[in-house]
């Protein structure tokens, strides 16, 4: 075998192996989606959106309580997390810059991003649930806010730093005060990137179960009082899917399907924003 032949063979082997590995990865993704869609669509009905939870065996049970609970918990977390994250990211990029304090905040938020979410659930249990004496929707939102914060903070920081410093200087050179430079020029330049960060942050927390088990817990019926335990799609799914009743398992599939579609569309939307920005 000549040197060239050997090289061609090794080349092909590497190519085939890496292609196969990629296919395995994609294969699992489509397998998951396929199973979800088949079982999910099968379980979907109008009742899902209009009925609350019911004991096993009842015809008209649904996920209305979990959908509304999920929306409220994630919504409140977004209301807290987005402004906090954007302001903190603005501090890092525009004020702290390369200072010790800013670098420390960056490091800590990177660590927080990879912290197991169940630990954050336990933390919120200790600081909110235990003093209150009971689970609550608020506690769930606090846990999700803490998980969301570092994601939005870091994307905001990164995206603001991508705005060329000459653009800031040009605004200063026209006599703009710093807050106007940030609000009118820097934010505008980083708009798409920040929005992407928000979408990805929301998508990340919307799928969390562990921190909610400790905090908002669950409720089989509709509750809109954030002071009380609250249903969420993820915890409901966990309870229903692990139950021995077939109709509850079906509801679990429906919850899984709805949640996945929601998170999938947020991710796709986020990626579209990134593409649009690059296309410019």
């Amino acid at each position: 075998m000549t040197h060239t032949q050997k090289r061609i063979i090794i080349n092909n082997v590497v190519m085939v192996l890496s292609t196969l590995s990629a296919l395995v990865g994609i294969g699992f993704l489509f397998w998951i989606l396929g199973v979800l869609v088949m079982n999910g669509i099968d379980a979907l009905s109008w009742n899902i959106f209009t009925q609350e939870g019911a004991p096993p065996g009842y015809e008209d049970s649904g996920l209305k309580h979990a959908l509304i609970g999920q929306f409220m918990i994630v919504g409140v977390a977004t209301l807290f997390g987005v402004p906090l994250g954007i302001l903190a990211g603005t501090y890092l990029s525009e004020y702290g810059q390369k200072s010790k304090l800013a670098e420390t905040i960056r490091d800590i938020s990177d660590i927080m991003m990879s912290a197991p979410s169940i630990v954050i659930g336990a933390f919120v249990y200790a600081i909110v649930v235990a003093p209150m004496g009971h689970f609550s929707g608020w506690a769930g939102s606090v846990a999700l806010t803490i998980i969301m914060l570092p994601i939005i903070l870091r994307t905001t920081d990164d995206m603001l730093q991508l705005v060329p410093s000459t653009l800031r200087e040009a605004a200063f050179a026209l006599g703009a005060p710093k807050y106007k430079v940030i609000l009118q020029v820097v934010y505008r330049g980083a708009k798409a990137g920040i929005l992407t960060g928000i979408l990805l942050g929301v998508a990340r927390v919307a799928g969390e179960t562990a921190p909610l088990l400790f905090t908002s817990f669950n409720d089989n019926f509709l509750n809109t009082d954030m002071m009380e335990p609250m249903a969420s799609l993820t915890v409901t799914m966990y309870n229903y899917a692990t139950s021995p009743y077939e109709d509850w398992q079906k509801l679990g599939w429906a919850a899984a399907f709805i949640l996945s579609m929601f998170i999938l569309s947020l991710n796709i939307l986020g990626r579209l924003f990134i593409m649009k920005r690059k296309g410019k």
Binding site: P164, T166, E169, A170, L174, P177, R188, G189
Partner: protein, 261 residues
């Protein structure tokens, strides 16, 4: 000592015993510099990379203050006051002394909003006044004809040369008394460059201009006075023609004849 031509006309700026030290440096980047800048004229600053010409230019509108730790010494007189004084109102100063950068810096907003930006900062809200002054600035910057049909379009859709003229329009819209140009054509093609040079010459009726350039031909084409800087010092300031034809300093002669730089 530097050879500095006697400027008989009124002066826009006077630099006296000026020193500048960057936060990260031990030694000053500009040393004991004296330099008069003539009013309603174009003064070009030339010199090899790192000679301090851009550093000096960015001192005139206190751009260095954006980054902590930089240090000024001496004085720069503008309208009988020392603009290096800590009491100087930087917002007012930067309205009076505008700046054009190396790369075009169109803001991510419409063409109209770009030009109106500085005026709005000053609190001008009257729509007709804004529209009139935007049009005048765009005309003065020789770009009105190209953009009048698309004032509401995103400024980033313009070509590099157009964006640079837009930035000039934005700067002159607030009616500054001095305009600082930091290598304004180094990112542009020859045709756009010629357009900007023509514009700079036309603008000296309204404002005093200081232009930093790497291109000696450009300095020779547009400026009335040329200052040659080397290692943080002003070596020679003269009438442009005299400086290029009969330089008084040996270093100047070596630089303009291409012996170093």
């Amino acid at each position: 000592m530097a050879t500095i031509v006697d400027i008989t006309q009124e002066k826009a700026l006077e630099v006296n015993n000026f020193e500048f030290t960057y936060a990260s440096a031990d030694a000053p980047s500009i040393k004991k510099l004296d330099m008069p800048i003539a009013k309603n004229s174009i003064t070009a600053l030339i010199g090899p990379s790192g000679c301090g010409k851009t550093t000096l230019l960015r001192s005139f509108n206190r751009m260095h203050d954006l980054y902590p730790g930089n240090k000024y010494d001496g004085e720069i007189l503008f309208k009988n006051r020392n603009i290096l004084s800590p009491k100087e109102d930087l917002i007012k100063l930067r309205i009076q002394i505008g700046m054009i950068f190396q790369k075009p810096t169109a803001f991510p907003m419409s063409i109209f909003d770009n030009v109106a930006y500085g005026m709005r900062l000053q609190g001008i809200k009257n729509k007709t006044e804004l529209a009139d002054r935007v049009e005048k600035a765009l005309r003065d910057a020789a770009i009105w004809k190209e953009v009048k049909e698309r004032l509401k379009h995103d400024a980033n859709g313009l070509s590099g040369g157009q964006q640079q003229r837009l930035c000039i329009a934005r700067a002159i819209a607030v009616e500054p008394e001095v305009l600082l140009f930091d290598e304004p054509t180094s990112a542009l093609d020859p045709i756009s460059t010629a357009g900007i040079e023509e514009l700079v010459v036309a603008l000296k009726e309204q404002v005093s201009i200081i232009i930093v350039t790497h291109n000696m031909q450009q300095a020779a084409r547009v400026s009335d006075y040329t200052g040659f800087m080397y290692l943080g010092e002003l070596i020679e300031l003269g009438h442009t023609e005299e400086l290029f034809v009969t330089p008084k300093e040996k270093l100047t002669e070596e630089y303009i004849t291409g012996k170093f730089g």
